[in-house]
Symmetry: C2
Subunit: 375 residues, 2 copies
């Protein structure tokens, strides 16, 4: 059977993604055991997303660790495109970022790309501003340290960001963004300029401090093209190229082959604001099962964990304990555990997480101002 065509840019993730092919196409490197060992020296343990290759590839991580070991601390940079509710795919990256911040005790610059979402989506400016506020609550609820975490909102911080974006933009042609992002002559001119704004946080702390500071960007691999373009520019402006850690996509509920979990695909995702009932209903109704057609057949042949979305959500996000995960895997693959039972485990995990998250999210409403960067 011919593989389905796939496409990965910041503006389109479609099809059954061949991550090995992507690594080659994008020119990134897979994380090696050696690199993971070096990381572990500093973190004490390895996050399960690293052990399980959820974060699986990188750019210049070796350099970043060299710098770190020479006393040149890095900062973290990640972000959020605020155009709708936060789904579990977002949380995957951000929980990993939180772990990195805690383990390395470093600053985090968190960009909310409200300009981007306004320019690329058929939504009003005000609507995007509302989502920006909403999405901030989810980030804060994850427990980032407000003293070390700085929110940048592109439009609100444009006084700081635009002058740097202008310098970057001078070194990028329309030809380049056309081929990197699949743009056409009918793209609006804001969308064409935008990648310059996404490039800024990787150098902004260096600009503010007046010295070069290494940067580590954990991201979903669809965001890599922005930095593939910008990394050619930074050295021309006498800045370091940032190091990048690439994550796989949490699959949408209907399973791999449909790209990535996405804000614009309603029932195909769990949102952080979903009720307990909605979570239960969505998982039971939509989560693609690796089980067999009948109980008898399942007991006999067992289920496939590699395609089962509930198992993948446990593996990628909700079951950090390797032993417990192995147990579930064994039972499901042997047929001892049915799909319904597997789904119940996931529902319980998600709902326990969301109950606490939603409480913290409510409390976060008073904390937004602490997180917004004040120049």
């Amino acid at each position: 059977m011919a593989r389905k065509e796939f496409q990965v840019t910041p503006y389109e993730v479609q099809g059954n993604i061949d991550y090995d092919k992507l690594v080659k196409e994008f020119g990134v490197s897979k994380l090696t055991d050696n690199l993971l060992k070096r990381l572990k020296k500093h973190t004490g343990d390895l996050h399960f997303m690293l052990k399980r290759k959820v974060f699986f590839a990188h750019r210049d991580l070796k350099w970043l660790l060299d710098e770190f070991e020479n006393g040149n601390k890095f900062f973290l940079y990640t972000g959020c495109g605020p155009s709708g509710p936060i789904h579990l795919g977002h949380l995957q990256t951000w929980k990993f970022v939180k772990w990195l911040q805690d383990k390395f005790d470093v600053e985090l610059w968190f960009q909310f790309t409200d300009d981007e979402k306004f320019l690329f989506k058929d939504k009003s400016y005000d609507e995007i501003q509302e989502w920006t506020k909403e999405n901030m609550l989810d980030v804060i609820a994850l427990g980032f340290d407000p003293k070390k975490t700085h929110f940048l909102i592109d439009t609100k911080h444009s006084g700081l960001m635009y002058p740097e974006a202008v310098k970057i933009s001078k070194k990028i042609t329309f030809s380049t963004v056309k081929s990197s992002f699949g743009f056409t002559n009918e793209n609006n001119i804001g969308s064409i300029f935008y990648t310059s704004m996404q490039a800024v946080p990787a150098i902004l702390p260096s600009v503010l401090e007046g010295k070069n500071i290494p940067c580590l960007i954990p991201l979903g691999i669809d965001q890599d093209p922005h930095f593939r373009v910008a990394r050619d520019v930074y050295p021309k402006l006498n800045f370091y190229k940032p190091s990048i850690l690439h994550g796989r996509f949490l699959p949408p509920l209907v399973g791999e082959g449909e790209g990535k979990a996405s804000t614009s695909k309603g029932n195909n995702n769990i949102f952080t604001t979903d009720s307990q009932e909605e979570v239960e209903n969505k998982i039971k109704k939509y989560a693609y099962s690796g089980g067999q057609n009948t109980i008898e057949e399942h007991r006999e042949k067992g289920g496939r964990t590699d395609v089962d979305v509930s198992f993948q959500y446990l593996r990628m996000l909700f079951e950090p304990d390797d032993k417990k995960l192995a147990e579930i895997k064994g039972k499901y693959e042997s047929g001892e555990m049915l799909t319904g039972e597997l789904k119940d485990i996931l529902i319980e995990k998600i709902n326990t997480f969301l109950k606490e998250h939603q409480e913290k999210r409510e409390k976060a409403k008073d904390k937004i101002d602490e997180f917004i960067y004040k120049p």
Copy 2:
């Protein structure tokens, strides 16, 4: 003899400009006697640049005067691209703007497009910042009222301007800027976005006041394409289209057929920082003469004021007195006045102006802060 091809965009002014053709191409209207009469009702007299059709065309001036007569005061918006010293061509527009501000007693928003000049010129960011400061001195020296004059510097005011530029940019495609400005795929992405920034000051006071305020933009006609594009966008964002007054170009010293006076053409312009000797030398050496080859021939046939650059400088900028200008014209055309004598009149005029201007320019150094807009 075939007419030389000409081209007029904000980024290229070349050839022997056919202003009638330009009026048609750009879709602007010539100033009629009726409109001038209406203007005069409010200003008491007509500026010589209006009487002499230096400012010769417009967009929506009738609407602007209707609004004004209904008690809806407008504000003025003009600007400067800071990439080198100020020449007499700049002063032509700004002196006219000053007259409008005085006569109508209105606010003036003065934009310094430092981002544009950085993006379009082979100059460093710091160099452009230096020119921005230098150019401000010339504007201040002209005597604008600091209480009613607000400098906007694109990069410094990007916190205010970028969010509005983003809204404008969403409604402009690359196809549009490609055809309006002659861009190619090799243009940098900052230059492609830039027209959105130039569009902002025409609506910024309305944004700040939370109500629609009419805007009048006096400009050299090469800047019209920016607003031809933006005027399609403003109503979509519920703002008025601005009214525009279009000026002809002060010719370069070597005469018409060479486009417009320009910062990048050294000896072809008089700069505000030129010494008395430099002015004398440039006019004597480079100012294209409408006179005859020999004194005898000149006495017999007379000179041509229509192509004589010295006469045009007097007509367009340095001799407001119609009677005196007519006298000079008569004498030069009859052959009574030689080119050298005509040049001496102009040199005297320029140097008298520059002596005072340079003193005021020096004093302006302490006044910059008064003029920079504080949100």
